[in-house]
């Protein structure tokens, strides 16, 4: 299980290095366990926003958004993931501290039950040098949007 995860992560990482601009565009999700793997998020002293659009989802199930975050800086980062809610919450990540060049998987879950029509949700990843105040925090927003049919 762990080796599969490392393999998938490495593939995603390599893919993302080659073409960071391509967003995952997938349709027809029907199962509660469906997972959308987003591009790797590289932290490089920036405040960025990226969007993944065009998802078409069948109503009812839970949808998982998953991505890898990589610290490209030469110092450790304190990371915090959050969501704007509206059905989207953090499912899990394990490390708050990300050492240089270290990877971490962040998983969100979107509950579509009771929702229909267009959706646009935002995942927020904040980071700051380890040990510094939250006032030195930088924020990366990752938007996912589409339609619940």
């Amino acid at each position: 299980m762990k080796s599969t995860f490392i393999l998938i992560s490495t593939c995603i990482l390599l893919y993302s290095f080659i073409n960071q601009e391509v967003a995952a565009e997938v349709s027809g999700f029907t199962n509660p366990t469906d997972t959308i793997v987003l591009d790797t998020l590289f932290v490089n002293e920036t405040t960025t926003t990226d969007h993944f659009q065009g998802f078409k989802i069948k109503r009812g199930g839970d949808l998982i958004f998953r991505f890898i975050i990589t610290n490209l800086l030469n110092y450790s980062l304190d990371i915090s993931a959050s969501s704007g809610d509206g059905g989207l919450i953090i499912d899990h990540y394990t490390k708050r501290i990300l050492k240089p060049k270290e990877l971490e998987e962040i998983v969100y879950i979107f509950h579509t039950k009771g929702r229909e029509g267009g959706f646009s949700k935002t995942m927020t990843v904040a980071y700051k040098p380890q040990g510094e105040s939250y006032k030195n925090q930088k924020v990366i927003l990752r938007g996912v949007s589409g339609v619940i049919e």
Binding site: A81, D85, G86, I89, I90, F119
Partner: protein, 636 residues
Amino acid sequence: MQEPNIITKVILTQPQSFIEANLPRLCYLVTGVNPIDNKSVSVSLVDNGGFQFTKLSDENSFNYSNAGIKDKNDFLKKLDEYFNKTNQAITDAFANQKIKTQFFPRAYMKPISASPNYNSKGAVKAVVSWTAVYKIEIPAYENPITRRTEYANLINGGIEITLSAGGKILSFKYNLLPVSSQKSAALYKVVADESAVPQLVYLLNKNTNTVAPFYLSATETAYIPASRESIPPDEEPGEAFKNPMGFDKDRIVVWLMNPDVKKRKLKIFDFFAPRKKDSDNNLPAGAKLIRLEPASETDENTPCVYWWEGSYHQKDFPERSLGKNNNIITELSGQVLQNDVEHLLSRISSYEKKQDEYDKVIKSIRDFSKKLLTKEQIDNGLIKLNSSLQLNKNDKPATILTWQKVLSDVYNPKVNETTNFFDEVLILPLSYDWFMEDKNSITPTLSTYYEETWQGDPLLNRFVGDSGEVVLDENDLIKVKSELLNLRSFVLKTAAKNSPEAAWLQNLTKESLNRIKLIVFVHSATWHYRTEKYAESAALENSFGVFKLSPVLNLLIHEFTGHSNFLFFATGTKPDGTPSDRHIDVKDTEATWNKVSKSGLGSLKQNEDFIDHLYQSHRALGSIALAVIISKISNL
């Protein structure tokens, strides 16, 4: 007919239909402002009876008094004159209807607070307005033991009036029905006079020790709850006792009632018998407990953990003594409140000395924790809190305006030298219900517009759901702002053009929206929440003694913290120990509850995030809720 289990007192009132039918006229007589087609004011009916008036801009203010307000006594004196004059004016205006109503029932009105409001910006603290809250207190009966007159208070509302420093009426909340006369002073007597409907009766619920208003049904023998606090006394259950096993999200946080009360038949309850102040465990009624899993369905006792006098304890309590409502008022309610406040203080210490603005929140809680409120102060505090911060579903914009003001007064972190958090926040008082109001009409204009414009657009379709959400992304914000300006024009072509929402929209400008960096949407179901513990993954159980804010206001506090400017925007831990944000899912509570039920509180290893799961309340968000409550009840 005699009802020995409850104390009743008949007060005749004018029906809400009287206010409804005469709202513009009453508003003019009371505030001096003609509300018809007046976009500078918002006037709406209050759900429980009465109406409210809010000034949205400074134009055309009614200058009640030309002379400025000098001090508190001067303020109350001016209000007294005002009540006199207005009562006379209303009597004259409705002379042909032969209404005996004293619109302001001065004999029963008692001021519980009168205080200045200061400007929240700038270096100089200047008084900008004065607010007074009056409760309605009715002599109920003579207590044969003490020979004192006992009073019943209308606890779900009162009269709140705010005058500018120059004497202009800025807001007015008449949160009751006009009292027309007192029918009888007799104890234990319900007089069914059906000539004036509805009648309001105040019932003492012996299970919760609260007095709350009910309407008397004109057609059947029944009490109709007239407020959220109006809980009819329970009948003795006929079924065999069964102690529920397993996790039930609505029975995790419970409150101790007098353990013997529910075992006794209500109909033979002797109100004047000496009351047992403490339970077997020396805990007063109203104490907050965490109900754990009982040993078996037949066990009449249930293990509970609780915080009392500085530490956690675990003991068994009779299952029948565990109530689902914190509205339990006794002589010891002050002690219960103080305990809850001290508990929270002990839990938020890790946030201290990290942000100046939040340190002020902690200081206000610490200062308040040293006060022991009397029962009367608790009663008055409830009235003031309910009068000031009650959700009025008929006027969401006015409610939101009030809430945002009180929130920014208690906690408004600096974004930079010139900007504070709430300068950049827009809470939408719009709702799915409002858009859908004309859905069944012949020309469903607004609802059709909503379906075509909002519902299909991923960036705008944010009103449907069971919680709320925030918009932070720059592109999303541009879209929402642009659509709000479109809606501002469009709404004037619809049947909703005179709604408070339409008036609110007219006050939006491109310039005012430019500074907004966070827009909060409240979902359709959330506006109707009353006692819900969660709004999806937002925990809402932020109660302190008998005090608790509206679930919607608790949800808003949760939503604001989705912004990274907040100290505690992303602090939390999942039950498995991995990081989380401020969300607490019902599954988190269930996992933590299972752990504590099996292995005791020690299994949580004093991790405050796990305590949050168990108490169904994020401690930092709870502290903001408490600071709001304190701001309303500390000066009684």
